[in-house]
C-alpha cells in the first residue's frame, strides 16, 4: 500500500526520535547498588510502620512508600527513565487502566468509602 509523503515524514520523524531516545546511557553499577539499598531501606521503613498502631495516616504512608518503590524499580531497573517514551506510554496504559478499572469496581462493591 502506498503512503503519502506526509505519512512517510511522520514515520521517519517518530523513528528518528525513538532511536535518539534509546541512545541514552543506562546507569552505572554503583547507581544500581544505591537504588537497591534505597529499596531495602524503604522496605525496612514499611515493616517498621506495620508494627506501629494502625491508623489512616499509617495506611496512606504505606501506600505512598509502595508507589515510590514501584516507580524506582520501573524507572531504574526497568530503564523506563532512560528508554524510549513508547515503552513508558505502553506500560502506563496498563498500570493506569488497571488502577482506574479496579478502583471503580471496588468503589461499586463498597470496599472503599467516600
Amino acid at each position: 500500500m502506498a503512503s503519502t509523503p506526509d505519512v512517510v515524514d511522520e514515520d521517519a520523524a517518530l523513528a528518528a526520535e525513538a532511536a535518539l531516545e534509546v541512545r541514552h546511557h543506562h546507569p552505572s553499577d554503583r547507581t544500581y547498588i544505591l537504588v537497591a539499598l534505597a529499596l531495602g531501606v524503604l522496605t525496612a521503613i514499611e515493616v517498621g510502620l506495620y508494627y506501629l498502631k494502625s491508623n489512616k495516616s499509617i495506611t496512606v504512608t504505606l501506600l505512598v512508600l509502595m508507589v515510590i518503590k514501584f516507580v524506582i524499580v520501573a524507572a531504574f531497573f526497568m530503564h523506563l527513565r532512560f528508554d524510549s517514551k513508547i515503552f513508558r506510554r505502553l506500560f502506563m496504559i496498563g498500570v493506569f487502566g488497571a488502577s482506574t478499572l479496579y478502583t471503580i469496581v471496588l468503589f461499586m462493591f463498597g470496599v472503599f468509602h467516600v
Partner: protein, 209 residues
C-alpha cells in the same frame, strides 16, 4: 508503506551497549522489547483483578482462620527483601553483558535464579504452614483469594527462574554474546515486573490491616 530504512533498531552511540542490528522497525525500537512491554501492560490487568478480588473478599469470611491471622511478617519481609535484591542481580547481569563480560553475566543470572528460588522456597514454606494451621484454598473466600493471588505470582516467579536458567545454559554455549544483550534485557523486564507486583502484594495484602 513507509520507508523503514531510516529507523535503526538501536543506535550504536558511543558508550551505549551494542545491540543486534538485524532489522529496522517503524517505531525505531526493538519489536521484541515492545512486545514484552505490551505483555507487561496486559499483566497489570491480570494482577489488578487478582488483588481486587482479594480486597473484595478480605473481610467477608464467616468461618475458619483468615490469612491476616496467620501472617509471619518478619519472615515475609525477608522474602520480599530477597526478591528485591534479585532485581539488583538481574540488572547487574544486564550491565555485565552490555560490557561484554559474559562470565560475570552468567554469575549474576545464576544468582538471580538462586534468589528467586529462595523466594519460592519461602512461599512454599508459608503455604505449608498455613495449611497445617487449618487454612487451605477451600477454607473460606479470603483464603481462596489469597492462595490464588500469591500462587499466581509464585508461578510467574517460577517461570522467571526457568527463563533465567535457560539463559545461563544458552550463555554457556556462547549463544548470548554482547551483541544480543537485548535478550537479557527482555528477560530482566519480566523479572523486574514480577518484583514490582510483589511490592504491591506485600504492602496491600500483608502490611495494610
Amino acid at each position: 508503506m513507509a520507508d523503514l530504512t531510516t529507523a535503526p533498531d538501536h543506535g550504536p552511540a558511543a558508550g551505549a551497549h551494542p545491540v543486534d542490528h538485524t532489522h529496522a522497525t517503524a517505531t525505531g525500537v526493538s519489536n521484541a522489547k515492545l512486545a514484552m512491554w505490551a505483555f507487561l501492560g496486559s499483566e497489570c490487568l491480570l494482577f489488578g483483578a487478582l488483588i481486587s478480588t482479594y480486597m473484595l473478599y478480605r473481610h467477608r469470611s464467616v468461618s475458619g482462620p483468615v490469612p491476616h491471622q496467620l501472617y509471619d511478617i518478619p519472615f515475609t519481609s525477608v522474602s520480599s527483601f530477597v526478591l528485591l535484591m534479585s532485581s539488583l542481580s538481574m540488572v547487574l547481569a544486564l550491565s555485565a553483558i552490555q560490557r561484554g563480560d559474559e562470565q560475570r553475566c552468567r554469575v549474576w543470572l545464576a544468582t538471580t535464579a538462586l534468589l528467586g528460588a529462595t523466594f519460592i522456597s519461602g512461599q512454599i514454606y508459608e503455604f505449608t504452614t498455613f495449611i497445617r494451621r487449618g487454612m487451605t484454598i477451600k477454607t473460606n473466600v479470603t483464603s481462596g483469594a489469597f492462595f490464588v493471588l500469591t500462587g499466581f505470582h509464585g508461578v510467574h516467579v517460577t517461570l522467571g527462574i526457568i527463563m533465567l536458567l535457560s539463559l545461563v545454559g544458552l550463555s554457556i554455549r556462547g549463544k548470548i554474546p554482547q551483541s544480543k544483550a537485548e535478550v537479557i534485557e527482555i528477560a530482566g523486564l519480566y523479572w523486574h515486573f514480577v518484583d514490582i507486583v510483589w511490592v504491591i502484594i506485600f504492602t496491600i495484602i500483608y502490611l495494610i490491616p
